[in-house]
Symmetry: C2
Subunit: 257 residues, 2 copies
DNA sequence: TAGTGGTCTAGACCACCCG
DNA sequence: GGGTGGTCTAGACCACTAA
C-alpha cells in the first residue's frame, strides 16, 4: 500500500487548535489584550466549547494566556525570571531577600518535611516553628513559602515574644542568622496549589505550581527546611551560577491600551 | 435555615474526588498496582467520567498516578531525583555525565535561543550545530535535550566527519571540551512537550515537562545553549549546592506483584 | 444584571495494547 | 476482539466580576 504517509498521525483537534491560536497570539494580539469569549471562539472554530477549552488550558500552562473567571481571557506577558539560589546564599530573611514574612505558628510538619529535618533520629511528631512568607515581584505575588524551623535551631528565641504573627516570624528569621550556614540543597518539582497557597497566589486551588524545596544545613544537621510554591504560569526560576546575571532581554513588548 | 456553616464553600466534585482518591492511594494501594478502569471508578463514585478524569489528571500531574492508553491506570512510584547542576560543572559530554548523544544536525535555532547565543551582535539566522541527547535513569528516559553550539565555538571540527548522527554529536561535544568554561546560567520553567520530545520521553504530546535552559559561557560570550525537557510527572530536579548529596530516603516502598 | 470562565453530565467514537 | 485511556460533543448550571 503506497500510503503517502500523510494520514499517519490524525492530530487531535485541540492540538491543532492550540497551534493555530498560538500563531494568532504572536501575530494578531498584544500583551494584555482580551480574547473573544470561549463560546464565541468555539463557534468560530467550529468545535465544542470543551475542546476549545482544552486548547486554552495548554496555552495557559505554557504561560501564553491568563484566564480569570468573570473577566475573560487575556494575553499574558512574558514570564518573569525570579532568582532562586544566588540571592539566598545566606539564611532566609537575610538582607536583600525579596520575601516578606506574614505569619508564624507552631505545628507538626508534614511527614516528608519531618523526615528531612529529623535525619536519622526518631523525633518526628514534634512541633516546629512554621513561618509563612510570600514573595512579591512587580506588585504581583509569585510565591508562597512555608519555612520549617525546629526549636533547636533557634534556642535563644524569647518566649516572651508574641506567639504568632508577622512579628514572631521576623524574630525566628533573626535568630536563624546567628547560625553558621554550612550549605544548602535544593529541589524543584511540579505540583498543584493547595487551597491556602492558591489564596496567597491569587489562583484557583489546583493551579500548577513549581515547588522548590530547600534544606539549610548548619551544625552538622538540617537547621531548616523551606517549601516554596511558585506560580508556574507566570514564573521562570533562574539559578545564576555565573557572574553576570544581567540578561539583556530586548523582549518585544507591545502593550495593549 | 440554621445553616451550620457546612455548605459555605461548595468544593468542586473533582477536587473532593482527588482528595478521596489520594487518601485511598496512600492506604489501599501499592506502587505499580492497577486501579479500576475509569468507567467503573466513575460509576462507583457516582460522577460522570469526565469529572473522574479531571481528578485523575491532577493526581497524574502530582506524580501519584501513571496512565497509559490501552493498558490502564497504575500507582506511580515516588519521583526520581535527577541531578541538574553539580554533575555538569563541566561541559556537556564530560566524563561522568548521564546523557547519551543521539544525533547532530545543522539548523537555525529558535528565536529565543538565537537571542541568547547572539548576544548583541546581529548574526541571527545563522545555522548552528544542534546536538540531540537523551538522559536515561533506571532504564527510563527522563529528559530530552537540544544543545545548540555555534560553529564559532568548535572551530577545529573536521569537516570530513559524518554530517550527522551520533558520531558527529560526539565530535561536537569533544571539541567543546577544549574551551575554558567561564560559567553557567540556568533557568527552569513549566512547558508542554513538543511532538518530538514527547516521542523520546514516551509520553503524549502536550504532556507537562520541566524545561531547563542552560547557557554555557566561554571566551567572554555564550559558547552553547542547552534546552532540556524533563518529564514533570516522574522527575524531581535536584540542585546539590551542598557537599552531602546522599539523601537517605527511607521511602516506604510496598511493591505490587 | 449581564457576561465571563469553571464545573458537570451522558453520551459517542477513536487509538492503542494485549491476549 | 475486547478492554483501556484519549478525544469530542451539545447541552446545563454555577461562581464570580464589573457596570
Amino acid at each position: 500500500m503506497g500510503t503517502t504517509q500523510l494520514d499517519t498521525v490524525p492530530e487531535p483537534k485541540y492540538w491543532h487548535l492550540k497551534t493555530v491560536l498560538s500563531e494568532a497570539l504572536d501575530s494578531d494580539f498584544a500583551v494584555g489584550e482580551i480574547l473573544p469569549n470561549e463560546r464565541e471562539l468555539a463557534a468560530r472554530f467550529g468545535v465544542a466549547r470543551a475542546t476549545l477549552r482544552q486548547a486554552l488550558e495548554q496555552l495557559e500552562l505554557e504561560g501564553r494566556l491568563q484566564r480569570r473567571r468573570g473577566v475573560g481571557t487575556t494575553v499574558a506577558p512574558p514570564r518573569v525570571g525570579v532568582d532562586v539560589g544566588t540571592s539566598q546564599h545566606g539564611w532566609p530573611g537575610a538582607a536583600g531577600d525579596t520575601w516578606q514574612p506574614v505569619d508564624c505558628t507552631s505545628a507538626v510538619p508534614p511527614a516528608a518535611v519531618a523526615r528531612m529535618l529529623g535525619g536519622d533520629s526518631g523525633n518526628s511528631g514534634d512541633e516546629v516553628h512554621t513561618v509563612r512568607r510570600i514573595r512579591v515581584t512587580h506588585g504581583q505575588p509569585v510565591a508562597a513559602e512555608l519555612l520549617y524551623v525546629p526549636a533547636a535551631s533557634v534556642p535563644d528565641l524569647a518566649a516572651i515574644e508574641s506567639p504568632s504573627g508577622a512579628a514572631r516570624a521576623r524574630s525566628v528569621l533573626r535568630e536563624l542568622q546567628r547560625l553558621a550556614m554550612e550549605g544548602q540543597d535544593r529541589a524543584v518539582e511540579l505540583g498543584s496549589a493547595r487551597a491556602d497557597d492558591a489564596k496567597e497566589l491569587d489562583r484557583l486551588p489546583g493551579a500548577p505550581v513549581l515547588v522548590v524545596t530547600t534544606r539549610y544545613f548548619a551544625e552538622g544537621g538540617t537547621a531548616a527546611v523551606s517549601v516554596a510554591t511558585y506560580r508556574a504560569d507566570t514564573c521562570r526560576l533562574t539559578f545564576g551560577d555565573s557572574g553576570d546575571l544581567e540578561i539583556s532581554h530586548h523582549t518585544q513588548e507591545r502593550r495593549a491600551s
